[in-house]
C-alpha cells in the first residue's frame, strides 16, 4: 500500500475526458503556431511525446496577455460599470514544476495589501496537474533556485514518467478530491515509487546550467550603482519584451481604456520593464536609459522581489535565454556580478 496512484500513458486521454466534465482542460499544444497551453480538443494526447515546455508560460491562463477588467456604458446616472463573467474552472495538465512554482511566486504580489480580483479567483478555482521534466533544456537552471525538474511542491497532482505509466502523487487536498472521483487510476506499488524517485534524481542531474543564488540580494545591492558594469551587460540588449512577457514570473501590467460607439472597456495587458515607455512620465523618465532598464529587470527578480516577499522571482525555466534574439543570458550576468569589498 502506497500513497500514490498510477495511470497508463495510453489512458491519459480517459482521465482528461473525465475531468473535462468539470473543468476546462488545458494541455500543451502547437495548434496556434506556437507551443502554449491550449484547450484540449478531447482526444489527442500526443503532446506527451513532443512536449518539453511551452513557449507561452501557463501564467497566461491566470494573467492573460490581455484581459477585460470591466466594461462601461454611459447612461443618465453616469456610467454603468459591469464586471466580466467569472471564468470557469481550469485544469492545467502538464504544467512543469518551474512554471508551477512561478505561479506560487507571483501569488504573493497579487495577494499583497489588496486581493487581486482577477488573478486570484482564477488561481483558486484551478487545478494544476504537473508532469515532471525528464528532458530539460540546456538553458534550464531550475536546480539553482531550489526547484527540481520533477518537483511536486506547487501542483495539486504530480505525474512522473516511470516508463509506460505515470506515477500520480496527490499533493494537495484539491488533488486528492480530484483523484477520489476519477476512475481508471491504479494503486502504485513500492517499486513504482522507487522508480519515480530514481527518475526524479536522474532528471535533477540533467540540469547543468547553474547560477550562484547565495547572497544574491546583497551582491546586487552592492553593485547596483556600478554603471559601467550595467552598461556593459546591457550593451547587446535590444529592449524587446521577449524575456519579460514570456517569463513565468513577470507579472507587470498596464491598464488601458477603449471606447467603441459608447461601449467602453477597461482592460489590463502585460507590460514590460524593458520598454522605455513603461516608466515614462510626461516630464521625465526615470528609466530612459537601457542599462537602467536591464538593471531593473535583473534586480527586481533577484533583489527587490526577494526583499519584499522572501523568494526569488525566477524559477530557472530558461525561456529568456532560449528565446532571446541576441542570446542575452541572465545566468552569465548573475555569475559575473561585480564584487565590492
Amino acid at each position: 500500500m502506497t500513497n500514490s496512484k498510477k495511470v497508463n500513458k495510453k489512458d491519459v486521454g480517459k482521465l482528461l475526458s473525465q475531468w473535462s466534465q468539470e473543468f476546462a482542460i488545458f494541455v500543451p499544444s502547437i495548434g496556434s503556431g506556437v507551443a502554449t497551453m491550449a484547450r484540449w480538443e478531447g482526444k489527442d494526447t500526443s503532446f506527451l511525446d513532443w512536449y518539453r515546455n511551452t513557449v507561452i508560460p501557463p501564467k497566461a491562463n491566470f494573467l492573460p496577455p490581455m484581459e477585460e477588467m470591466f466594461s462601461f456604458r454611459k447612461d443618465r446616472e453616469g456610467y454603468n460599470i459591469e464586471l466580466p463573467p467569472n471564468g470557469g474552472k481550469q485544469l492545467i495538465f502538464g504544467i512543469r514544476p518551474c512554471d508551477a512554482r512561478a505561479l506560487t511566486t507571483i501569488d504573493a504580489n497579487f495577494k499583497d495589501l489588496y486581493q487581486d480580483p482577477y488573478y486570484l479567483p482564477k488561481r483558486s478555482r484551478a487545478v494544476l496537474v504537473g508532469v515532471g521534466c525528464t528532458n530539460p533544456y540546456d538553458s534550464c537552471f531550475c536546480t539553482s533556485l531550489g526547484i527540481s525538474p520533477a518537483d511536486s511542491n506547487d501542483v495539486d497532482l504530480m505525474l512522473t514518467d516511470i516508463g509506460d505509466e505515470f506515477l500520480v502523487e496527490e499533493v494537495t487536498d484539491k488533488g486528492k478530491k480530484l483523484t477520489a472521483k476519477t476512475s481508471g487510476l491504479k494503486e502504485a506499488t513500492k517499486d513504482d515509487e522507487t522508480r519515480a524517485k530514481e527518475i526524479k534524481e536522474i532528471s535533477y542531474n540533467k540540469v547543468t546550467r547553474k547560477i550562484n543564488a547565495e547572497g544574491i540580494v546583497d551582491k546586487l545591492l552592492a553593485g547596483f550603482d556600478d554603471q559601467d558594469y550595467w552598461e556593459k551587460v546591457a550593451a547587446k540588449c535590444i529592449s524587446c519584451g521577449i524575456c519579460t512577457l514570456l517569463c513565468p514570473t513577470c507579472y507587470c501590467f498596464d491598464i488601458n481604456d477603449e471606447l467603441v460607439r459608447q461601449q467602453g472597456t477597461r482592460f489590463r495587458s502585460l507590460d514590460s520593464c524593458a520598454f522605455p515607455v513603461y516608466t515614462k512620465m510626461p516630464m521625465e523618465n526615470p528609466r530612459a536609459s537601457k542599462w537602467k532598464r536591464v538593471r531593473q529587470k535583473v534586480c527586481h527578480k533577484f533583489g527587490f522581489f526577494p526583499m519584499n516577499f522572501n523568494v526569488i522571482a525566477c524559477t530557472g525555466c530558461g525561456r529568456c535565454i532560449r528565446l532571446c534574439p541576441v542570446n542575452w543570458d541572465i545566468t552569465q550576468i548573475l555569475n559575473s556580478l561585480p564584487v565590492r569589498v
Binding site: L83, D112, I255, P282, M283
Partner: protein, 290 residues
C-alpha cells in the same frame, strides 16, 4: 513588506474590486494657470461621500472613461469635506481629456491610496513648507489641515515659487495664507513681470534667504524634481537632518496599489509605500535610482 509605515488598504472599494472606480461628479473647475486646473468633485453616491475618509498626502486614481486613468493627490484638506479636490496639469492623454471636461461631467475615482503625511510626527513642531509650481497641491492639503488644527502645531512658514507670476497656482490660497497672521508666507517667481512686487529668485535661493530654523522643525518639500534636488542641500545647510525633511514623490503609477510594477525605487513602490518619504528614507533607497 519593505518596512513602510502608516499604510492601510482603502476601505472604499466598489463592488469589492480594487480596480473598479466610483462615479464622481465634477462640481467646479478652477483655472489655476493656462495649463493647470483644479477640479472640485463629489461622489455621485451621497452616502459614500459621507463615509469617505482620507489623509493629507494620499492620492487617488482618476478615470476619464474611455481614455484611461491617472493618479493625482487629493489636494483638498480632510478637514474641509463639502467636496474633494484634485489639481491636474495638461501633459498627457488623460489630463488632456480631463481639461476637456466641464462642470457636471462624470469621472471615476478609486482610492485613497498610499501613505500620508505623518501628522503625529508633525504635531508640536515648527513646519516649513517648500513648494514649487503644481507641487503645492499635496502641500496645500496639509497646510489647510494644519491651519484647521492650528493649536496643535508651532510656527508655520511657506516658501512657494513658480516660473512666473502667471504660473503661480492656488493664488486664492496664497492670498488667504498671506493674510493669516500665524503663517509666514513667502511667494517668489523665477522671472517677474511689470506688475510683480514680490520676491524674484528660485525657491532654494529664497529658502536660504528666509533661513528657517531647524530647531524642532520639519520641512515638507514638493515640487519639480530639479527643485527638490536643489532644496535638500539648502535644508542640510540650515541644519535640517534627513529625518526632518519630507517630500512626496511622483512616478508613473498605473494601478496605485503596488501591483503593476512600474513606480518602484529599489524595492519600494511609491504608490504603495509612498508617496510621502523622508529624505533619510530616500537616501537609503538604492541611490542612483532616485
Amino acid at each position: 513588506m519593505s518596512g513602510a509605515t502608516n499604510i492601510s488598504p482603502s476601505r472604499f472599494l466598489a463592488q469589492d474590486n480594487v480596480y473598479l472606480p466610483h462615479i464622481a461628479v465634477i462640481e467646479r473647475i478652477i483655472e489655476e494657470t493656462p495649463g493647470i486646473r483644479t477640479f472640485h468633485f463629489n461622489f455621485k453616491d451621497k452616502k459614500l461621500g459621507e463615509e469617505f475618509t482620507f489623509k493629507s498626502g494620499q492620492f487617488g486614481e482618476y478615470s476619464v472613461f474611455g481614455i484611461g486613468e491617472a493618479p493625482f493627490c487629493i489636494s483638498s484638506s480632510p478637514t474641509r469635506r463639502d467636496h474633494l479636490e484634485f489639481t491636474a496639469q495638461r501633459v498627457g492623454r488623460v489630463t488632456n481629456a480631463l481639461h476637456r471636461l466641464g462642470v457636471g461631467a462624470k469621472i471615476g475615482f478609486r482610492g485613497p491610496y498610499g501613505n500620508s503625511f505623518p501628522l503625529g510626527y508633525l504635531q508640536g513642531k515648527n513646519l516649513v513648507f517648500v513648494g514649487g509650481g503644481i507641487g503645492l497641491a499635496p502641500l496645500r492639503s496639509l497646510i489647510w489641515n494644519v491651519i484647521d488644527n492650528r493649536d496643535k502645531y508651532k510656527n508655520i512658514a511657506l516658501v512657494y515659487g513658480a516660473r512666473s507670476p502667471a504660473d503661480l497656482c492656488f493664488k486664492y490660497d496664497l492670498d488667504a495664507w498671506g493674510k493669516n497672521k500665524t503663517i509666514k508666507s513667502v511667494t517668489t517667481v523665477d522671472r517677474g513681470d511689470a506688475s510683480w512686487t514680490g520676491k524674484v529668485g528660485v525657491v532654494p535661493k529664497i529658502l536660504e534667504e528666509v533661513a528657517p530654523s531647524a530647531k524642532n522643525a520639519v520641512a515638507i518639500v514638493c515640487g519639480p524634481p530639479i527643485m527638490i534636488r536643489f532644496t535638500f542641500p539648502v535644508l542640510t545647510k540650515l541644519e535640517f537632518t534627513p529625518e526632518q525633511m519630507l517630500t512626496t514623490l511622483e512616478k508613473r503609477m498605473k494601478c496605485g496599489i503596488g501591483k503593476c510594477g512600474r513606480c518602484n525605487i529599489g524595492n519600494i513602490y511609491v504608490c504603495r509605500d509612498g508617496p510621502v518619504f523622508t529624505y533619510a528614507q530616500i537616501k537609503s533607497f538604492v541611490s542612483s535610482e532616485y
